[in-house]
Structure formats: C-alpha cells, structure tokens
C-alpha cells in the first residue's frame, strides 16, 4: 500500500524481562534515601508488567530524585529544573505507544514547576507523575521548599521557615479536571508498589505524592509517622488502591473513602484525619488531552500531500 509506514508497530516477539533488564547505573543517592525504594518499586513493576524497556520513558527535572532516569535501563529524559511535565507532555503527545513516567521533586514540581504542575493536572494526559516530596531541596544542599514545614531550619531560613507549606494534595484537588490523586510513603514498599501500579493503570494523569525520606538533610522528618503509625490514615475502597494485609496490620487507622468523593478527598487531604495514604480522588471521566494531541496520527504521505495541496490552493492567484 502506498503511504508512510506506520510510526510504530506492535511488539511481536515473546520476551521475558527480568529485573536486570531495568537496572542501569548504580544509584548515587545517600544511604537510606527514600529514592532507592521508589526506584526498586518501579523496576519491579516494569518487570511484573513486562513493559518493553524501549517503550518506557522516564522524564525528570533536576534534583536528587531527578537523577532517577539514569538508574533505569529504559529511555530517559533528565531535563531542566521544574520542567519535566511540559517535556513529558510533549513526549506523549504524538507517541501514545509509550509509557511515560514523570519523576519530580518538591522544589522541581511545587516551586519552579508550579505552573506546569497545575496545567498538567488540567490537561490530564496519560502520565504517571511521582512527586518525591522530601520537604527540602536536596541536591542544592538544604534550602527550604514550598512543602518544608513551618519553622523548619534550612540554609535559606536559618531562623526557621516563616510561612506554612502548601499541601500538594489540596492544591491538586483544587484543579478542575484532576483525575487521580494519591499519596504513599517510600518506606512502605507494599503500598508504594500498589500505588504506582494503580497510577500506571489509570488512564489520565495519575498524581502520586510520595512522602520521601531524606536522611541527609531531614533526618527526623517522618519519625513520628514511622513510630506512631496511627498518624497515617490508610484509605481503602473497592475503587481505591488495594491495601495489603501486611499494610493493614501495620497501620491501625484504616478509613473507607470512595475516591469518587471530591469533597471527602479534599477533607482527607488536609490531614485532619491523619496523613492520608491511598487514593484520595479519581475521576475516570475527566477529558484526556492526549486524545486530542494524538489526532491525525494515521495520515499517510498521500493524505499529507493532498492536504497541503488543498491549502496552497486557497492562496492561489
């Protein structure tokens, strides 16, 4: 048949991918850094789902966490500080065959990247967005981030941060068209894995805030949550993120929450009922911009040439 060869093709051949197929350079994060756990989870997920490495793109900004793509043996895009979301949107725009993950930090996403964050949520493209929230700027050595707690001492606020943090969950839930908003902890591998899996399965933008340990600069940050697990409110629902029995045993405060309930999700996001862990909100009906951007992908050379000819005719003398 005359025309362009299709831009991509279905993977034919049978492959059996093992963990090593997703492992690249040795991670250079500090010992005990929560980033290691997330990396492990994603590698396992990719293996379990047998995602072809050449079809996976990890897009990140700049920060400790944003080194992530270098440690995955897939395609990766270690971008500019604050800009992974526009890049990832562009990657996906004409390549619906790719699995695009976004790795971003609390500075990357909630400070310099704020505008892109808000508008990516609105556009609701089919991306899995992992916010590594360690409440601090790691890579540049301990400056406050927008999520650093009030009074926390940092290099830019040696007298303590004077203004309370923004809550990425509450902000995200304020954006029309949000379609999947979840939270998990880097130190519970089961829930972490289950959350990333649900996020990846979701059609639309899945926003996952990961409370992340930074032993180097925020040593005691999550101590209370780790010691008193009742401070965590595990959200459970048939449409939510599956709660493993091991998780249930560890966290006594389990709450039923229907992710279709936006008001309830917003309330839980405040943390008044405990730090939420699980799916706060899901709306599978939110329009997905990637369905708009993929339009016209099937055009053949003949179509294109004919289209252009018709355009030129409009200007003909």
């Amino acid at each position: 048949m005359y025309g362009l060869k299709q831009d991509w093709e279905a993977e034919e051949e049978a492959r059996c991918l093992v963990l090593e197929d997703f492992e690249s350079l040795t991670p250079r994060w500090c010992p005990g850094c929560g980033d290691h756990a997330v990396l492990g989870s994603l590698q396992r997920l990719a293996r379990d789902l047998q995602l072809p490495p050449e079809k996976v793109v990890i897009v990140s900004g700049i920060g400790c966490s944003s080194r992530f793509p270098h440690y995955m043996k897939t395609y990766g895009f270690h971008g500019l500080h604050g800009r992974p979301l526009p890049i990832a949107s562009g990657v996906l725009s004409r390549r619906p065959d790719l699995h695009v993950f976004v790795v971003t930090g609390d500075g990357d996403c909630c400070a310099i990247g704020t505008a892109h964050w808000i508008h990516a949520i609105r556009h609701n493209m089919n991306l899995t967005v992992l916010l590594f929230d360690n409440n601090i700027y790691g890579l540049t050595m301990m400056q406050s981030s927008p999520t650093t707690p009030l009074g926390n001492v940092s290099n830019t606020h040696p007298g303590g941060v004077p203004i309370g943090p923004i809550n990425p969950l509450e902000v995200t839930l304020g954006i029309g068209n949000a379609s999947f908003v979840a939270q998990t902890l880097d130190w519970n591998p089961l829930h972490l894995y289950a959350t990333i899996k649900s996020a990846h399965e979701h059609q639309g933008l899945a926003f996952v805030r990961i409370l992340q340990r930074c032993p180097h600069f925020m040593r005691d940050r999550w101590n209370d949550l780790q010691q008193d697990t009742a401070g965590v409110a595990v959200l459970e629902h048939a449409d939510g993120i599956p709660v493993d029995d091991a998780v249930r045993r560890l966290f006594p405060n389990i709450r039923q929450h229907d992710p279709a309930d936006l008001g309830g999700g917003r309330h839980l996001a405040t943390g008044e009922e405990g730090i939420p862990m699980g799916l706060l909100y899901r709306n599978p009906e939110s329009p997905r911009y990637n369905e708009i951007t993929a339009r016209g992908l099937g055009k053949t050379v003949a179509d294109k040439l004919a289209g252009l000819e018709a355009e030129l005719d409009r200007f003909a003398l």
Binding site: E9, E54, V91, S93, L98, R295, E311, L312
Partner: protein
C-alpha cells in the same frame, strides 16, 4: 440624500490616462469597516493580472479604538508595479479614506505627499452632529492646503442605492472604484468574491458584486484619472499570502506535526492559521501555559521523534533561552521561529525591528552553537521552514528562524510550490538500534551522530543537560566536557563547509557594499538600484544564514572600498568613536571578518523605505551626497 451629495470632481469628459511603472494605494477606515478586505482583494486581483504586488496591513494600536480617530486607522497599503515589488515603498499615490480623521495617522508617518490623490467619504459634511461637520470642513481645508488632490466621494449615499446597510458594503464599493481607476479585470474580482463568500450563499455574492459594479461605474463617471500599471501575466501558477501564513504552510509542508506556542504578537497568527488548518495534514497546535512550557513540550515531542516547532517573539525568546541551551546541549532537533517585534522588553509589540539577532546567537549562557537563519521574502518564509527542519534533524540541534513583524503581515505573490514527499519528515524509526552504537557516537570530524528514538529497542539512553560522555552518562571530567563542547561546535563548522558564499546583488566590486538580512532586503536592493542609477558603484549582499555565517565574506568584502550594513536596530552614529554601538549584524561581521564594517540603522518601528536607505548609502559615498528631504537622524517612517 443621493441628490444632496456633492462631488467636487466634476465628471470629466475624457479621463487623464497615465502609464505608470508602479503605484501605491492605501485604503483606510475605522476598524471593522472592511478596508483590510478591500485592500487584500485589490492586491490579489492585481497580482492575478500579473502585477508585482506588496501589501501591508495598517493596524490600529487598540482593539476597539474610538471611531473617527487618528489612532483608529485600519486598512491596507497596496503597492503594485509592472515588475516584482519587494517592499512597501514611500508615500502613497492614491488614498481612499472612510472618514477625514484616519488620514492623519498616515500623514503623521509621512504616508502622503503633495499630489497624493485622496478619495474622501463626504457623508460627514452632512452629519447631524455639528462638531463632526466642523471637523470635516477643517480637515478638508487642511488636506487641500497640504497639496493633496482631494476627491469628495458620497460613498454612503452611493452604497445606499444598492444595499440597505452601507456600513457592510462600502469596502466593496470602494474596491469597484479602485478597479475602475486601475482598469482591473472585473471577472477576476467576481471569481475572488465567489471564492471568499461563496459558502455564505448566492445572495451575498450578488449584493457584493452589485456594490462592486456600482463603485466601478461611479469612478468611470466621476474620477478624472486612469492609471495603467502594465501587467506581465505570469506563466507559472502563483500564490499570494503573508509571511506568517507562509510560515504556517511551510510548517505543514515540512511534515512537522506539532506546533507548540504561547500567544504573542506578532507571531500568534502563525498558530491561528495552523489551529484552523493543521488537522488537514494531521498536525496539532498546543497552546501551552507559558513560553517555557511551549518549548518544553516541543522538545519532548522532538525527543520522541516528532521534530516540533515553537513560534514566538522577543519576550518569548528570552523566556525560552534556558530550554534552547538544553536542546543544544542534549542535541535535540527543534525549530524555533521568532517573529521579531520592536524591543527591548515589551517594546513595540506590533512593530518591526531586527533586534533579536545577537540574542538568538548569544542569548544562552555558555557556548551554545545553534543554526540561525532568516528569510528575506514571503516565499522564503515558506521554504526556510522546510530547510530548518531538515537541518535540525541532520545536525541534531535547534534552528532559529528570524522573521519579523514586517514579513509577518506583508503579502507578496510567489510561484506556487507543489507539495513534495521529500519535504516531509520521515516516519519515526522504531527498528532496533544498532548494537554498541552510543547515543552520541560523535564523528570526530563532523560532530554528527545518530540518535536513538524511544521505541528503538537497544537504544535506551537518558538525555541530560549536564555535561555527558558519548553514552550520555553524566561526566565531570575535563576531557569529556571539552570533547562535548568541541563536537557541538564542529557540527556548525560542518554545516558552514556545506554552504555556498552568498551572491552579490550588483557588481562584485565597487564603492560600497551594503549588507543586510531579513525583511529589509527588498528595500535595500531597490535603494541600491537607485543609487546605481545615480552612477555610483554600489552593490548589496543579503545573508540568509547568520549562524554559521555564510563563507567567503572576507573575500567578497575585499572588493569594495567600504562595507556597511543597513539594519532596523539600534546603532550609534560613526562619531561615537571607539565605544560605538554597532548595529547587530555589523558587530557580528566586524568580529568575524575584522573588516571595518560600518552601519546605518534606526528603530522607527516600521519598515525602512528605499528612499531612506538610498539617503543613508549616498551619505556614505565619498562625496557625501545628501538627499535634502530625508533627515537620517529622524527617519520619516512611511508606514
């Protein structure tokens, strides 16, 4: 009312028929009265008949300016000639004005001269509002005092004879008037009107043709002149469009599928056009939340194998500079179109300037070799996008196309291109990647390398804006950093080697060589012709590549006593001495060639008329000829 109208032009027995090589016509009205449409149609019919044409828009500074105000003038200038026309020329020969205030906006910028024929809507003389009647009378007297040939025309009354609401038809009546004056082919007009309005129904077409015919007839009976601008019918198919439309069509023709942008004047209309038509060839326009997101999205698409374009103007270029540097560093192909406007800062959003040249070359911190090209005609706006995408992909780097507000809205006919398969981007390659080829396996001589595209099995790699080795691994070693910088520069040297030296317009030796780039080309060449007409050995040179510079410049310059640039950007006069600020191209050429390149430039916000350029050149001739009516310190800016 028809009877009450008073035409000051008595019906002439025999009109005065003049053969002219060219004429400049302006149609100006309050915005919304359709002068733009009439002007465009007049240009199109002239082009179709075989005239050279250059049309420029006259745009009010406000969105809904007050009626009958000089700030509100909206319309078109159409320069037609027997030969090709490349610029908007100087003062108008014929002006049609829908009220007596709008001509002042044109007078303010030197758009009229003694002798200009002014067809003036006369209904205001009968206005019920005394102030208006008074204003009209005053203006009329003033126009005559200034030496214009004023023809009062009862446009409204005449239109009323044909339609009920003359507001929505006056422009076509005027078109008729002009077509009679210039003996244009009414059949062509009919065809154009059908093309334009056909889908609105037959009745609309008919009432418009009725207006056209009425205007035509009125002029035949009342206008004492006919102007014959001989036509040279073209033997090839031609199209007529403005620069932004040409860029948009070029984007389509290049097989680019993604235009990612944030609105900014005067670039936005490229994306308006695409938003309406891009789907025909399978493309999409992404309006991002800001310029940074726009280029980020484009880079993402490019990385994934779909080389994208982002369209902007100066302030947007500034915001994109971090990402441009990234694309250079990570070697991601990308087309960036900067439709330049007046600067610095928000500056003159709707006006022309060539002030972004150095920012395009040096705007990114660090060493950031990129390709910078500039179209000089509407036709080149189309073709350069196609070239840009190819270069971006071959050299794996951003290509910046510098257009400007003048090219953006000016219309010019050119041979109709035919869509070609080889212009289109190839499909995304998803075949397995060659084993053991690094993602930056730089050829040490050319700096070129092949890049893996997501989907290519075995090509998995991680792009980064950090210093990196051939594997794209972050590397801080001195050698690696130096190698990366060298390889990226080498690509530009490789491109330079493939370029031909530019061709001199005129003799290849002489007194003065005038160098320019971009939209000023037409006016420069016309000015050079005029100066040569005065017996001086003057030539000109147009650069299309600014980075890398086209080769052989030093050799070309050697054959002239003096080399100077003409630019629309700031420069000090020569008296400024050692610390003189040179115009931007002059600066570049001086550094690169060490030739003492002089410059004359100014920043009037409007295209430079040939006359001004002529004056600037003649002033620099050994005998310092002056053109008395041109004050080069305060350029009279015709449009």
């Amino acid at each position: 009312m028809g009877e009450a109208s008073q035409s000051t032009a008595a019906k002439p027995a025999q009109p005065d028929v003049q053969d002219v090589a060219e004429h400049i016509v302006e149609i100006i009205s309050d915005s919304g009265e359709g002068a733009q449409t009439a002007g465009q149609l007049f240009g199109t019919v002239s082009a179709r008949m075989g005239n050279g044409v250059w049309t420029v828009e006259i745009i009010p500074a406000e969105i809904e300016p007050p009626y009958r105000s000089r700030a509100g003038a909206s319309g078109n200038r159409i320069r037609i000639a027997t030969d090709a026309v490349s610029n908007m020329g100087e003062a108008a020969d014929v002006v049609v004005a829908f009220n007596e205030q709008v001509p002042y906006s044109r007078i303010d910028v030197g758009g009229l001269r003694p002798g200009t024929i002014l067809f003036l809507e006369s209904m205001w003389a009968q206005s019920p509002d005394e102030l208006i009647r008074k204003a009209y009378a005053e203006a009329l007297a003033d126009f005559r005092h200034r030496g214009y040939e004023v023809v009062e025309v009862p446009m409204n009354d005449e239109c009323l004879k044909v339609v009920e609401d003359p507001k929505r038809g006056k422009n076509i009546w005027i078109l008729g008037l002009l077509c009679a004056l210039y003996e244009r082919d009414a059949a062509i007009v009919q065809m154009l009107i059908e093309r334009k309005l056909g889908r609105k129904g037959k009745a609309i077409v008919e009432s418009n043709m009725a207006l056209f015919n009425a205007g035509y007839k009125w002029a035949e009976q009342n206008a004492p002149w006919r102007f014959r601008v001989a036509v040279k019918p073209s033997d090839v198919d031609r199209v007529v469009m403005n620069g932004n439309e040409a860029l948009a069509l070029g984007i389509m023709a290049a097989g680019i599928e993604v235009c990612s942008m944030y609105p900014i004047t005067p670039a936005t209309s490229v994306s308006h056009y695409l938003a309406a038509r891009f789907a025909k060839v399978g493309g999409i326009v992404h309006q991002a939340e800001d310029e940074i997101a726009a280029i980020g999205f484009a880079i993402g698409a490019s990385y994934a194998g779909k080389t994208a374009v982002t369209v902007t103007s100066g302030p947007g270029l500034a915001l994109k500079s971090e990402f441009i540097g990234f694309a250079t560093m990570a070697e991601i192909p990308l087309v960036i179109i900067d439709v330049q406007r007046g600067g610095p800062s928000t500056g003159l959003p709707t006006r022309v300037e060539q002030g972004d040249l150095l920012a395009a070359l040096f705007g990114q911190p660090g060493d950031t070799p990129n390709i910078v090209m500039a179209p000089t005609t509407i036709e080149e706006c189309f073709h350069f996008v196609i070239t840009a995408r190819k270069l971006a992909e071959t050299f794996r780097m951003p290509v910046i196309l510098l257009s400007d507000a003048s090219l953006a809205t000016a219309q010019q006919p050119f041979p109709r291109p035919s869509a070609r398969e080889e212009w289109l981007a190839p499909p995304v390659d998803t075949s397995p990647w060659q084993q053991d080829v690094a993602p930056y396996a730089w050829d040490p001589e050319t700096g070129l390398s092949q890049r893996p595209i997501p989907g290519q099995r075995g090509g998995e790699y991680v792009v980064t804006g950090l210093a990196h080795d051939e594997e794209s691994h972050v590397a801080y070693e001195s050698k690696v950093n130096q190698q990366g910088l060298k390889m990226r520069r080498r690509k530009l040297a490789t491109l330079a080697r493939s370029l031909k030296p530019p061709t001199v317009y005129g003799d290849t030796e002489g007194e003065i060589l005038v160098v320019g780039w971009g939209s000023t080309r037409g006016a420069i060449e016309e000015a050079v012709d005029r100066v040569r007409g005065h017996g001086h050995k003057v030539s000109s040179l147009t650069l299309h590549f600014l980075s890398p510079l086209e080769p052989g410049l030093k050799e070309i310059f050697r054959h002239f006593n003096k080399v100077m640039t003409i630019e629309i950007c700031y420069s000090d006069p020569p008296e400024a001495g050692e610390g003189r600020t040179y115009a931007q191209l002059a600066f570049l050429l001086r550094a690169q060639t060490l030739v003492d390149v002089d410059c004359w430039s100014c920043v009037p916000g409007v295209p430079l008329p040939p006359r001004v350029i002529e004056a600037a050149i003649r002033e620099r001739l050994p005998d310092h000829e002056q053109i008395p009516e041109v004050d080069l310190e305060n350029v009279p800016c015709t449009v």
